[in-house]
Amino acid sequence: MLPIDKIIEIISNLPLKDALTYLGAQGITNYLTQGYERIKKVIADKQNEGKYAFVPNKEEVLFLEEATKNPDYRQILILVPKYKYIDLIRTGLLLREYNRRIDSNIDAEKNKTHIARIKLDILKRPGGGRLLKIVKLPQSQFFSTILSYLYELKIHSYPENQIEEEFNELVDEWEQCVLYVDEKHQLEEVIDFCRRMVKENKPRFFLLALYEHHITVVEEAVKNIKQEQLLEKNNYLVNIEKESSKTATPRIEVRFYKNPELL
């Protein structure tokens, strides 16, 4: 064992992690030995510089740190800044990334284990079932549709607490009020979905489709229900967003919602 002065000299010049590793390699497990309080002080001083945080999974934390810049997360901060479970949204973005890696065949087993660990941890929390629903939302392809809808409410001067209320309702209900139109859906089914939503007096509902053929079905459906004056009679507004750039997948998103000015 080196003299204490020598150990201190060595660790003083090392970053904290390396200093701790060095001490571990020297067989030092505590500071109870006489004179070790000086070693303890060097370690405490290094930590007190406030430069280091030690985490179970560095890669995960770096993703979470980067997720601060994610446009969806930034939008949530603007729309519902006081939302109690805002940090679960960022966790949802992490799960979305793990799912993306699984879909791309990148370390599929490892990423599935990460997802299972995170979900289990959340499930064990009080109200875990609902918390899982919140985490699930950013993983859905409807997340951006929901954000656009909330943004429209904000434009219509909806107060923050009401936007938060809407968001909370959507966490519970989004699966019932969205239709992803794909090859399984005929035009009549899409129209029926819209009619049912109106009949049930849903405050909002959404259609989403990718690729030209499905986009055409959605556009036809909207045209039909407009002709029936179903929306007008029931005070619904419609907002259609269509992307047909050459670089991205063609996409249409239709948001139906009760006219906030008449509520």
Partner: protein, 86 residues
């Protein structure tokens, strides 16, 4: 915002860092406070924090849950504090 360096740390080294701040770790791996109590998770009151799964963050050494949600909260509040002091 001052950059924070995130690192992983082996179990022995974690214990050594904790002990530099008078925390300890019991035989089952739970972090003990200076008064010998286990640290409750803020997210789940039924859960106590184990050294292996903890995040050890500045201030001077704070022990928090190492779950993504707890770390997200830490990052967010840190950013808010930094913004408030600018």
């Amino acid at each position: 915002m001052e950059e924070l360096i995130f690192e992983e740390l082996g179990e022995k080294e974690r214990v050594l860092l904790l002990r530099a701040f008078d925390y300890d770790v019991d035989g089952e791996g739970y972090v003990l406070t200076q008064s010998g109590k286990k640290i409750q998770s803020k997210e789940n009151p039924k859960k106590f924090i184990k050294a292996k799964f903890a995040a050890l963050v500045p201030g001077s050494l704070e022990v928090i849950d190492g779950t993504p949600t707890a770390i997200s909260e830490y990052l967010r509040t840190r950013e808010e504090k930094e913004n408030a002091s600018d």
